[in-house]
Symmetry: C2
Amino acid sequence: MNGSGVRGTVTMHDVAARAGVSIKTVSNVVNNYPHIRPATRAKVQEAIDELGYRMNLSARSLRQGRTGIIGLALPELSLPYFAELADSVIRAAEARGVVVLIEQTSADRQHELDVLTSDRRQLTDGLIFSPLELGPDDADALKVDYPLVVLGERIFGGDWDHVTMNNVDAARAATQHLIDQGRRRIAVIGAHAGETMGSAALRVLGYQAALAANGIPFDPDLVVEGGLWHRATGADCTNRVLDSGVKVDAIFGLNDALALGSLHTLHARGVSVPDEIAVIGFDDIEDAAYASPTLSSISPGREQIATMAVDLLLARIAGEDKPYRRVITDFSVVPRESTAA
Amino acid sequence: MNGSGVRGTVTMHDVAARAGVSIKTVSNVVNNYPHIRPATRAKVQEAIDELGYRMNLSARSLRQGRTGIIGLALPELSLPYFAELADSVIRAAEARGVVVLIEQTSADRQHELDVLTSDRRQLTDGLIFSPLELGPDDADALKVDYPLVVLGERIFGGDWDHVTMNNVDAARAATQHLIDQGRRRIAVIGAHAGETMGSAALRVLGYQAALAANGIPFDPDLVVEGGLWHRATGADCTNRVLDSGVKVDAIFGLNDALALGSLHTLHARGVSVPDEIAVIGFDDIEDAAYASPTLSSISPGREQIATMAVDLLLARIAGEDKPYRRVITDFSVVPRESTAA
DNA sequence: ACGCGTCTTTGCAACGATGTAAACACTACC
DNA sequence: GGTAGTGTTTACATCGTTGCAAAGACGCGT
């Protein structure tokens, strides 16, 4: 259809000439300016079609100061949770007419800081940021001059919108689910010592709350440290806790990757799940439903997080000036074989 | 550092004024034009630092006709293989100073066609495209006027570069691996009837070649159709072949998701792996190493694919005019528990 | 027929950078 | 001292679009 073919640089100028109107009228037609006589609109549209005109988005960006691109910064796509989150964000963005530029921070603090001030921010109208390493001390770095939506609960109290789930309650529900199956010696894997605001800390709090609510004493030996929430870490943590000799009848992986790594180790060591040890994860990634045995988990409402984040960001980009919001999404316990009775 | 603060729109103009040089000299400094007196460069650099100048990328894009963004079109990020591929592409791109805009096609033919002509192509300097549904008949649609690198083997013979693995040989190797373990009744799951050029068809060819080379008769009943290569499909295919009553001692999943779905079903039905049935997948996604039992697979050299694709694309963007290339990446068999002796 | 308000269309000046080609500066050499 | 050659800096037009404000067209009431 591209009439002229080779690198067809057809501009509004050409369209205007062809249609016998001014270039501004072409602009008005393209932008759906309401006051245009139908006949004029038709003429212009015809010229556009004949010439195969496509608007030059760089020019528009320069003029408007907007690119139509939003940024999404996350640790890495090879972590299934983030891949699925990115999937949802891209879909939500597409539905609203914008596209997504993804940046990976490799869960590296400096990299997370860099992303906030990178030249690439010029290319995006705003940023959805899911930090893993930044903490309350880095709040200043988040005081940026472009629309920002932060995912997760690591940092509060700044001029940005926040979308998060209730980690404490969700972890409490996960733990309660294990308790309901009669488990009492529940290990937690993937804890982060010294952290107070991150997902790890909050989920451990929920775990403790559930124990307390059921009159089960808290045993620090059951809390296993583990840095990156990868499968390998989960496998390792599980080995450590089993080797330590403490009695364990359930494992709560602070995310699904950890729990899947745990299943892997349990299988390798011939421990039967859920008979000897029940396992629950957190995030409800697609893998969970297909693990052997299938993995119980907490569904964090991924779609909802993505949709909210995009909507909040686009509202700020559009100039909304309401007070910054903190949105807490819904969660649910998804019981599967790994915690069956 | 951003001296002026609020939405600091510092332009080259401001820098030029501050440094007492012309705006073009600032441009020259920023772009590392060689013939600049050190004193001048220092003056300009100082002004840049003091004012916190950042170049407006939209303006540069308009002028140069380049955005510094490359597109990556793939079926969906929630498929681990593509998530990992995207991870690698983003890293390769970052190392070369460009960023990546990801578009999902949902493995939908129309969507795949749309992506090629979308307005978004204006935003990208070129596209890395991994089609799943387009076939040889769609070759014309790929005749686009921007740099394009196609991944996979579905469509050949056009004006674009191609990065692919040797699907036939790799599938032959996978099958040979099973045969080496003494398996003779090897089912293939995820085949696409009627397809001749896609990965499915090529991998089935490799499977047949291996059987032939070992004097094992080909039994069509062992070839199980399955559309989307998701875990659910693999689970379903496995149920079908087991229910059909044909004897099976091994399953070759045409990708890892299928094979993982298969493991799921086998586990659910109490079939022991690899004792009763051995399983091998294809792609070597991270999951494979953590499945229970761990899944043997074919490693397709993902890093290499990503790196080659980005390099080829950037070379075209830079104006390289050599004949179009077809790069075939290396693969290797990764034996794990699911095919242990 | 006149004036006024509303609907349509337009010209012009930006947005912020870079390519071109010319101007200027300085050395080196005859 | 003049000229060629190299190194350094500059003015200007231009990339393709949109905001602004004003001009032109049209309908209506009086």
